[in-house]
Structures are given as C-alpha cells and as structure tokens.
C-alpha cells in the first residue's frame, strides 16, 4: 500500500482516537469526543448521499430522531412519556433501526424523482414535519420528550463508564466509515455515481434511476439511525428539540464545514463543531450567541471553500505535492444543477 499524506493522517487520527482516554480529561472523552463521533456518523450519511448520489438531504436528522424516539418508546419502563414498552435495549436497537429505515424508504421513494434544490426542499419538509409530529403526538413523545433511556448492560450505565460508550461509538463510527467506503466501490455504488453524474444517460442505459436513489436514501437512513441510537444511549433523553430545525442545520453545518464530498469530512466537521460549541461559551463577546458564530463560519465556508476543511487540506496537498486535481475540485454543491448561469 502506497504511503500518502492522507493515509498517514488517517492512521494518526485513529491512533490518537484510540489513545484519547490516556491524554485528555474524562469530560473530553465522555462528552465532546463521543458527541463528535455520533454527530460524525449522522453527517457521514448526509455526505454519502451528497458525494455519491448528488442528493443533499436535510432529512438525516429526522431519521436520526425517528430511531432515537423508537428506542426511547421501546426500552423505557414506567416513569416517562411515550409507550413504555419495556423491551430489552437490544430489541430497541433493532426496532429503532428497522422503523427508521422503513421511514427512509418512504421518504426516499417520494423524493427520488427530484434532484438538487427540489430534493433539499422536500427533505427539509420531512425534517420539520418529523419535529412537529413528535412535538404534538403525545402518545409517543410530546413536548417534554422521553427520559431515562437505558444503554444495554455492558455498555451502560453511561455516567459510570464513559470510556465504554466512547469506545463503542468509536468502533461503530469506524465500521460505518469502512462500510460507506466499501458500498461506494460496489456495483451499486458505482451505478449510484453514474446516476449522480448523468441520470438521463443512466436511465437510457436501462438503470432504474429512482430506485437507485431510493435505496441509497434508505441505506443512508440506516447510517443516520445508528447515530440516533448512539445519541439516545449517550444522552439518555430525547425530545422534539433534539431534532428541530436548529439540529437539522447543525448537521448540515458539520457536513459542509467538514466537506460535502469526502466521508472523512463528517468527523472533521463534527470535531470542529463540538469544539467551537464548547469553547465559544467562554469567550465573553460571544457567550450564548453560539449560533451566530457558527452561522457566520458556515457562511464563510460556503463562500470561500465549497469543499470545506477537507477541501482546504486537499488544496494544500495539491499545492505542496503538485498532485493533479482530485475529484474534490469538482465543486460538489453544484451537483444537480441543470441550467447554465447568466
């Protein structure tokens, strides 16, 4: 295997992540890094759809929330809102992921004939409606949400064993990363990239474009659902505010700041996001105005570097090593554009 700067950085990041409990505080491990990992998983599902399918989806947080709410309803027992089914946490995981993927199939099938900004708008509609549904339907949640969601034995109780959940999340995040890379190289992944680049040609070659988009969306829903399960284990609580428009935009910000066309960008963006979120509180002139700051950063990234932080890194590497322009220079957020500009 050839040694490239990307691979060196990748291995280094993995080693640093594995050794994290040795050199940073338990607050960092239990709060910031774990949060970074599962937010990265959700953002990775968005980036997968955008990079390989040309679909920028704002419904990932909705799917993440559906999985989280199903786990909450299935596994709690007694003292909280929701259905209180009292199942074992593992059955909760199965139910959460199945329901979320089913919802993803429906969402994907409905949006599969739209691209570009239409797709963006339709998925944003899903997201806001999911938030309202969980806010209004008191049978499954209501405004206050569901509390006391347990992690399975061996992983939880989470407060007492922060490192366990951290390593579980790290392992899952790594597995998801490998899985997404693998899927993008399968015949399905290659066809999906064909659909992204030229849907009309793929359709005339006999591929079912809408079906490929739908399946890709359902697969990305699986990934987002895994993130949702990890979130409710970590947080022990989920309420409609966990999936409101702000949360939806946070994940979009993570994906765009990291870089919309490479999976690694998900975790780069998530790390950046949790650090800014954590430390901006301490800067006096920002204080509680975190979202103004993150909005401004988002604006600058969109205006200056459409490839996000990973795009900046690639550009720097290309300059210093004289590498030919990689696929990332194809400004990915133009995917789906059909009209020439004036």
């Amino acid at each position: 295997m050839r040694v490239t700067p990307d691979r060196i950085v990748g291995v280094l990041a993995l080693v640093l992540a594995l050794a994290a409990p040795l050199y940073v505080s338990s607050y960092w491990v239990g709060t910031l890094l774990t949060q970074m990992l599962f937010l990265g998983i959700v953002a990775a599902s968005l980036i997968f759809l955008s990079a390989y399918g040309g679909m920028v989806s704002l419904a990932q947080v909705a799917v993440f929330g559906i999985a989280g709410f199903v786990v909450g309803n299935a596994t709690t027992n007694g003292n909280t809102k929701g259905l209180n089914l009292g199942w074992s946490p593992w059955w909760g995981v199965v139910a959460g992921i199945l329901v979320a993927v089913a919802a993803g199939l429906l969402f994907g099938a409905l949006a599969s004939r739209s691209i570009g900004i239409y797709f963006l708008m339709i998925t944003l509609t899903y997201s806001v409606i999911a938030n309202l549904v969980f806010g209004q339907v008191t049978d499954v949640s209501g405004f206050g949400g569901i509390s006391g969601i347990p992690a399975p034995n061996g992983i939880g109780p989470v407060d007492a064993h922060q490192n366990r959940l951290y390593y579980v999340t790290l392992a899952v995040a790594f597995a998801i990363y490998v899985l997404l890379r693998y899927v993008s190289r399968t015949p399905f992944g290659l066809t999906l990239q064909g659909v992204r680049d030229d849907p009309v040609r793929m359709a005339s070659l006999g591929y079912n474009v809408a079906l490929h988009r739908t399946i890709a969306f359902a697969f990305a829903s699986f990934v987002a659902a895994v993130g949702g399960v990890l979130f409710v284990w970590w947080n022990g609580h989920i309420d409609p505010a966990s999936i409101d428009l702000g949360a939806t935009i946070d994940v979009l910000v993570i994906a765009v700041v990291g870089g919309l066309f490479r999976l690694e960008g998900a975790w780069v963006g998530a790390l950046f996001f949790v650090i800014v979120n954590n430390y901006s509180q301490q800067i006096s002139f920002i204080g509680p105005r975190f979202h103004t700051l993150i909005g401004a950063i988002f604006l600058v990234i969109v205006l200056v570097s459409p490839g996000g932080l990973v795009g900046l890194w690639e550009r720097a590497m290309a300059l210093s090593f004289g590498r030919r322009r990689g696929p990332s220079d194809r400004t990915p957020i133009e995917v789906g554009q059909v009209e020439p500009s004036v």
């Binding site: 209004q136 459409p306 789906g336 554009q337």
Partner: protein
C-alpha cells in the same frame, strides 16, 4: 420490446394505478367522513359531528381554511416569485417573516407609547397604529432581501445549491440575533380596534371574526396586484420572459440584474408583510420562522415552484387540510392532524413530482 422492458412498463403502469387508487381513497374517505359519518358521541366522537349534522361549524371550518390559506398565499407567493425568476430557494424566508413581525411590533409599541411595555390590546390601537408599522416592516424586509441578494447571491447566480446554503447560513444568524434582541417569549401585534370585531354573515347565523376576513381581502388584493403586475406591465413581462429564458432576455439588452433586484424586493417584502399579519393573527416567537418556512415549502411543493396559480392552489389545499384535520379528527386524536400535512405532500409528490402546476426547468 424486450421482456425486461415490458415488465418495467407493466410495473410502471401498475404503480400508477396503485397511486391513483390510493389518491382516490385518500380523498374520498375523508370527504365522506366529514360530510356524513363523523359522529358526535362514542369512541370516535368529533367536536362538531358531520356536515349534515352541523352545517354551521362545517361552514366555519371552510372559512377558517380559506382565510388561513390567504395568509399562506401572501408568504408563499413571495417565495415562489423569487424562485421562479432566479431559481433561488430563499431558506431565510421564514426568518424574514419573523423579523418583519418583530419590526412592526416594536414600531407599533413606540407609536402607541403608554402602557405598551406589557403588550397592547386592540382598544389602544387605531388603524394608523397598525398600517404604518406594516408598511415600514414590509419596506425594511424588502430592503434586507435586496441587500442579501446583492451582497451574497448575485455573484453566485446559477449555483442553486450554494445559494440555498448561503440563505440557510443567513437564516441561522438572523434567528439567533432575533432571539437575542426580542427574547424567547411569544408576543403579538395588536389588531386595530375597528377590525377586532365579529361580522354577522347572515348565513346559519354565523358571527365571523372580522380580522380573518381582512386577511382574506389583503391576500386577494395582493394576488390581483401580482397578477396584473406579471401579466400586464413591462416589468412583469420581463420577469415572465426571464423565468423561461434568462440568457435570452439578457442578450436582448434588458437589464436583468435590475429585474432580479425588483423581484427579490417584492418577494422578501411579502414575507415581511406576512410576518406582520401572522404576528397579529397568531404570535411571534422563536421557532415560528421554521413553521413558516415549512408552510412556504409545502405550498410551493404542492403547487409547483414558480407558479402564482400553483401557490394559490397549494395554499388553499394546505389551509383546508390543516383546518379540516384539526376539526374533524376524533377529539382524542386531533394532535395527529400534522400527519395530514405530510400526507398531502406525499400524495402530491407521488403523483406529480414537480407539483400540480410545476414545469420542468
């Protein structure tokens, strides 16, 4: 025709039949329920019972739906105007709505003066106290929209997704700043006292809220003005030509940038005006911006992007769906009414992906 292609064609036809059958069920069953079967007692008891049983409340629900649709139309017509001409999805439309409301609220309280700190009642407010803030807020949001377009969007023309992301960034910043300046408590603009009454409609003895009828009149006036403007004036003709072929319009020596700025001003101004009406009709609070962005999106997804008639039909469908589902679901299940909004979007997308009046770009 090869076997594979024939199966595909059969599948497509089967799917279409299933789709239309589903649509028929989704339209016919609720219609029969509302007209004849909704009971007033028992497990499935509804608030009013069927239309045959209680025609008065049925008519009131229709009126509520239509007047809600009027407000949806004011906001969504601005959204669709901007999209139709420039292909810009203004994700800050909801934030513009909320900011317009807040600006009018502040101006109204300053105009009235005494006792305004704790909120106003209609008795303290006359017509000028409502119309002047409404006009100023509309103009302010129109100016803000043009500023956003000129500073951030103009040089990204044609990069649709990037423009959408830029407007999302601006909506994050606006929402956070509004929370900082106007707080998290719900507030509302007071209607003028001469509007805040009931009108006897002389049908079934209905006493109907006058303010809702005022909203309907404003929306009809705006719809008419937009129609005349787009169909009968030079600017309107340029805009319609620009919707069809921007490059050609530009090549004919027309200053399309000026037209873009005008359309953006009108579109944003409508969001601001909508915010003033919405803030008087309901209330202003954080999160309201997301709801109104949702309404605008739903209206244009149903009606078809960039079509004024589509916006009208979309608003009407959304207004009637939300009001009927809230009024005619069994009383213990009314909180499920939001599902019907999703069902409406889902059904339209399944049958017509570009919306009822949508055309391919």
């Amino acid at each position: 025709m090869s076997g594979r292609a024939r199966t595909l064609a059969l599948q497509t036809r089967a799917l279409r039949i299933v789709g239309w059958a589903l649509l028929a069920v989704l339209v016919v069953v609720p219609a029969l329920w509302v007209l004849f079967f909704a009971p007033t007692t028992g497990k499935w008891a509804t608030a009013f019972g069927s239309a045959v049983h209680d025609p008065k409340d049925f008519l009131i629900t229709v009126l509520n739906g239509v007047t809600a649709a009027a407000l949806y139309f004011v906001v969504a017509s601005g959204f669709t105007l901007i999209f139709g001409l420039m292909r810009v999805v203004n994700m800050a439309h909801g934030a513009f709505f909320l900011l317009g409301g807040y600006i009018a609220l502040r101006i109204q309280r300053n105009l009235v003066g005494e006792g305004a700190g704790f909120g106003l009642t209609s008795a303290q407010v006359n017509l000028t106290h409502w119309i002047v803030p409404a006009i100023i807020a509309t103009l302010a949001i129109a100016a803000l929209g043009v500023a956003m377009q000129q500073i951030f969007l103009r040089w990204n023309q044609g990069q649709e997704l990037r423009q959408a992301l830029i407007t999302i960034a601006i909506s994050i910043i606006l929402a956070d700043q509004m929370l900082a300046h106007f707080g998290g408590v719900a507030e509302d603009i007071a209607w003028p006292r001469n509007w805040d009454t009931f009108v006897n409609l002389r049908v079934q003895g209905i006493q109907y809220t006058e303010t809702r009828l005022v909203i309907l009149v404003i929306a009809l006036a705006i719809g008419l003005l937009l129609w005349v403007w787009l169909k009968r004036t030079r600017t309107g003709m340029i805009i319609r030509a620009g919707v069809d072929d921007r490059a050609m319009v530009s090549a004919l020596g027309i200053n399309i940038q000026l037209t873009f700025a005008i359309a953006f001003a009108v579109g944003s101004g409508l969001a601001g005006l909508g915010g003033v009406i919405g803030g008087s009709f309901a209330s202003l609070a954080p999160g309201v911006d997301a709801n109104w962005l949702l309404y605008s999106l739903v209206v244009v997804i149903i009606g078809g992007m960039g079509s004024l008639g589509g916006a009208a039909i979309g608003s009407l469908l959304l207004g009637l769906t939300t009001n009927f589902s809230a009024a005619y679901l069994p009383s213990s299940y009314t909180y499920y009414s939001i599902i019907f909004t999703f069902a409406l979007v889902a059904v339209v997308l399944a049958v017509r992906p570009l919306g009822l009046f949508g055309r391919p770009a």
